[in-house]
Symmetry: C2
DNA sequence: CGTATTCTTGACGACCATCAAAATTCGTGG
DNA sequence: CCACGAATTTTGATGGTCGTCAAGAATACG
């Protein structure tokens, strides 16, 4: 079940192209004799849909790179509502805050089944000290997270409810790329765009009636052009 | 007007305690002969209130550390409204994205007169390569920005308008610390919490009537306890 | 098969956006 | 220093959107 990324059968897999760590060519530049010793603690694992990955206040000693599947990051607002603050897809890092804080800050839960690698922070820090180019990549991760937080502020929390939900679906579609777009529950949809579950339900009913959204058990088919029109801008 | 931080009269100033670069003791640990050569490009400057500091797409070749005063970061939403996405105070870095991107991403404008230092990114990268502890500090800056973005999502864009504005004022008070709390225009208040200027005006009228807020030309006095009650949670 | 959660749909009301107009402040130049 | 125009602010009236409350239907789960 757990296998170090340095094993031959791992390296050969096409998914490695999406692996955040592979992207910076860490493995290629590492001296061969260091590969096993350094990357042995990196554990590959799978997890089913709707499972908790991280909880706030958990001791943060590792980051997780998503190879396949989708994850939501959520928090409680001051008046006790759930709010989704970020959506992560293949190539993204979950639990980035482990690189700077002692504990995780947000709840992380899977939206779909996932395929991921657990990388202890000591490994990242070790490699960072040796490979300056990895440092730029880590900063890039922070930058990406910040950009997505800004997009939540500017797109998902702005304008009429229908436009927000349309933008949410477009955001998911972009995250998914070629892969099928994961289906969000009404509760999660509401928690992402700051409306009540009732309004989320009503608006999705409209979208379904118009054929703009087609729901299947675990995924959705979207009329992107129509959604862009509703999203405005 | 422009003076390197390494000049004697600068070092001696009490404000240096608030200087983001001083905080990591860069200067103390640098070999003496490197101080002048490395820090010469760091320029200290002042700017009046309501002045533009950075604009999106400007070439990003420096970060700015705020020694005194307050700055807002803003952007346009998809439907063309101004939205304030971050508020910065003494010790914060403006234009953090320069450390990773080629151009600035947001509009940065002063809320008050400021006292700041312009640090070319090459200087930061040079020092980072030599001093590992600076790297942790830089990551800390990204973390702080991300935390504030999350607080905007969870606090300022949630709940009734009065609660949002109360939370905004509390956030400003915390930023200011001992210093006077800067006065935000109705337009800026509205742009921060995503309401119309009319509602911002109406709600502040209530606060003024109740003595919860007292406005002076450039600053405000706040009844923090009352604001916390209105903020909820 | 029964219970709990999620989802749907409806009716109602509150909050806030919108439109409008007047008052005030600010900056600028006469 | 005053006068002028532009921008901001205030206040009111009105309507729409969405939250709230409620009850029933569907779905998931043990």
């Amino acid at each position: 079940m757990l296998s170090p990324c340095s094993k031959p059968e791992w390296i050969g897999r096409s998914h490695c192209r999406q692996c955040a760590v592979r992207d910076v060519a860490l493995f290629a530049h590492l001296p061969l004799e260091l590969i096993d010793s350094t990357l042995a603690p990196v554990q590959h694992f799978r997890l089913e849909a709707h499972a908790r990955l991280l909880a706030p206040r958990d001791p943060a000693d590792a980051v997780i790179t998503l190879r396949r599947g989708f994850v939501k990051l959520e928090d409680l607002t001051v008046d006790g509502n759930r709010r989704i603050i970020r959506l992560l897809g293949p190539g993204d890092l979950v639990g980035l805050e482990a690189l700077h804080a002692q504990a995780y800050l947000h709840t992380a839960e899977t939206l779909t089944a996932i395929d991921a690698c657990r990388i202890p922070t000591v490994v990242v820090h070790d490699l960072e000290a040796r490979l300056p180019e990895l440092h730029a990549n880590v900063v890039g991760r922070w930058h990406r997270s910040l950009e997505q937080a800004d997009r939540f502020i500017l797109e998902l929390l702005e304008g009429p409810a229908a436009a927000r939900i349309a933008r949410l679906l477009l955001m998911l579609a972009k995250l998914a790329g070629d892969a099928p777009v994961p289906r969000l529950s009404r509760l999660d949809t509401a928690a992402a765009v700051s409306v009540t579950p009732e309004t989320a339900s009503r608006i999705l009913s409209l979208f379904l009636d118009d054929g703009i959204v087609i729901e299947q058990p675990d995924e959705v088919r979207l009329d992107l052009a129509a959604l862009r029109r509703i999203a405005g801008g």
